[in-house]
């Protein structure tokens, strides 16, 4: 058993370093950008003439549709549509890129709701205090509101990221040689599926536990200005 473990571990870890971790990191980074944009679009009510307001309504409708469609359909189906479905309309996307696109869009949809909720939880008073000091909307959002909202959004966003790490295993279904795919291949050769899937489960658990530790550290940093007992 030990020999199987020691011989398969380097291959599994290499797959993790080469595909699982980059896939999760890149997708989460793009997802987060999408999430912030979507949340801000949903929360902004522009002043200005009727034309600008109408255009904005259309953009908001697109944002709502995007979040709805990606939260209402399974991630595996989304992955299949982008990798196997789009080539039928002439859009062929490499497997890794298709996975990044799918995971980013999916993460963006879920995380946008976390960010929206966090932004809404910041009291109106904070916006007003910034406005009276002469801050414009952008400065208020990025210098005053976001830094406070991050503290609130951090736990659900960490959850999203940990979920994403595990979801990357779905990429095995579109030929990406990530950790789970490699464990399947090794199990097919050595006929020890229980051991191989057990090892890969432990590797995912270690990765997620490390992220939980990172989350705890980040939360501690983000909460440094909060007095004990405050929310």
């Amino acid at each position: 058993m030990w020999q199987t473990i020691t011989s398969s571990l380097p291959e599994l870890i290499a797959a993790g370093v080469k595909f699982t971790i980059p896939l999760a990191l890149i997708s989460f980074a793009f997802g987060l950008i999408l999430a912030v944009i979507t949340a801000v679009i949903k929360l902004t009510n522009p002043s200005g003439n009727l034309f600008i307001k109408s255009i904005w309504k259309v953009i908001q409708a697109i944002a709502y549709f995007y979040v709805w469609i990606f939260r209402s359909t399974p991630l595996l189906v989304q992955l299949f549509i982008i990798f196997f479905g789009l080539p039928s309309v002439g859009l062929e996307i490499p497997a890794f890129t298709a996975a990044v696109i799918t995971f980013s869009l999916n993460t963006g949809a879920y995380a946008s709701e976390n960010i929206r909720a966090a932004l809404l939880s910041i009291p109106r008073d904070q916006w007003e205090a910034a406005y009276t000091l002469g801050f414009n909307n952008r400065q208020t959002l990025f210098k005053i509101i976001f830094p406070q909202a991050i503290r609130i959004a951090l736990p659900p966003l960490s959850n999203e990221f940990i979920g994403l790490i595990k979801d990357t295993s779905l990429a095995s279904s579109i030929t990406i040689l990530e950790m789970f795919t490699v464990s399947q291949q090794i199990a097919a050769k050595n006929y020890q599926p229980l051991l191989m899937y057990g090892i890969v489960a432990v590797l995912y658990a270690i990765l997620c536990s490390l992220l939980s530790l990172l989350q705890r550290y980040l939360e501690k940093r983000a909460n440094r200005y909060i007095k004990r007992g405050d929310n």
């Binding site: 009276t132 000091l133 002469g134 400065q139 210098k143 005053i144 503290r151 200005y225 909060i226």
Partner: protein, 246 residues
């Protein structure tokens, strides 16, 4: 001088301000008093455009806006640059230290040199005896200290008018005295600035006010010198003051 001309503000059916015309002179302390829900805070917040009245005009020195028309971002910014607001619940930025709270606007809005902004922040902290709190976060301070910091934050922008919305109502009597002393001090030091204060504290009003505006149901019932307010024979004001045991 801040001037409101025929200003009205509706909240659905209710008139928060009803054809109000009033002046708040520069270099004077004007105090707005009146029962709860009389429109005091609405009037004060209209100066800083945190509330947009539906009708009327606002003039601040050389600037003017008509509330019945669209107010541009630039106009809003210019109007807001004229005054500094101190809120009832302080509204300090909890994620920034005291020093960062005071320097954030001068650095980001006025694009002031950081060293200059910090120097001015320390001068203001000395004014309120809170230099030692510079590196602390607002959550580590008492209510009275936070209120004094919020006064510093408003003064850091060097406004021509200081607006205070019930600055002591969230404080216990001891802290209230501290803040009131600071405000008296500021009124003396910053003589060229106009101060507009909404308060329920009549002793404080009597002490600092050059003029008093009494509002009820969104209408001005009195606008005149402090002594006339306290010693006059207006029946409604007498009732109001006796209810507060003055």
């Amino acid at each position: 001088m801040i001037e409101f001309e025929h200003v009205s503000k509706f909240y659905k059916e209710r008139k928060a301000l009803d054809d109000v015309s009033v002046e708040f002179p520069k270099s004077q302390t004007s105090v707005i008093v009146g029962p709860s829900g009389s429109g005091k805070s609405t009037l004060l917040r209209s100066i800083d455009l945190l509330v947009r009245p539906d009708q009327g005009k606002l003039k601040i020195d050389d600037l003017a806006v008509d509330f019945s028309k669209e107010i541009s971002r630039k106009e809003t910014f210019n109007i807001r640059r004229k005054s500094g607001m101190v809120f009832q619940n302080w509204n300090l930025f909890p994620h920034l230290t005291v020093l960062e709270n005071i320097t954030a606007a001068p650095i980001n809005v006025l694009k002031e040199d950081k060293a200059k902004a910090i120097k001015r922040a320390y001068e203001l902290l000395d004014l309120v005896d809170l230099r030692y709190t510079a590196d602390q976060y607002p959550g580590q301070l008492s209510g009275g200290q936070q209120q004094r910091i919020s006064i510093c934050r408003a003064l850091a922008m060097n406004p021509e008018y200081l607006l205070l919305d019930e600055p002591t109502s969230a404080l216990d009597p001891e802290l209230e005295t501290q803040v009131l002393r600071i405000l008296e001090n500021i009124a003396k030091i910053e003589k060229d600035k106009g101060m507009v204060i909404v308060t329920h504290n009549m002793q404080f009003a009597r002490l600092v006010a050059d003029k008093i505006i009494f509002l009820e149901d969104g209408k001005i019932l009195f606008d005149g010198p402090t002594e006339e307010f306290f010693n006059g024979d207006n029946q409604r004001i007498r009732e109001f003051l006796s209810a507060l045991s003055i």
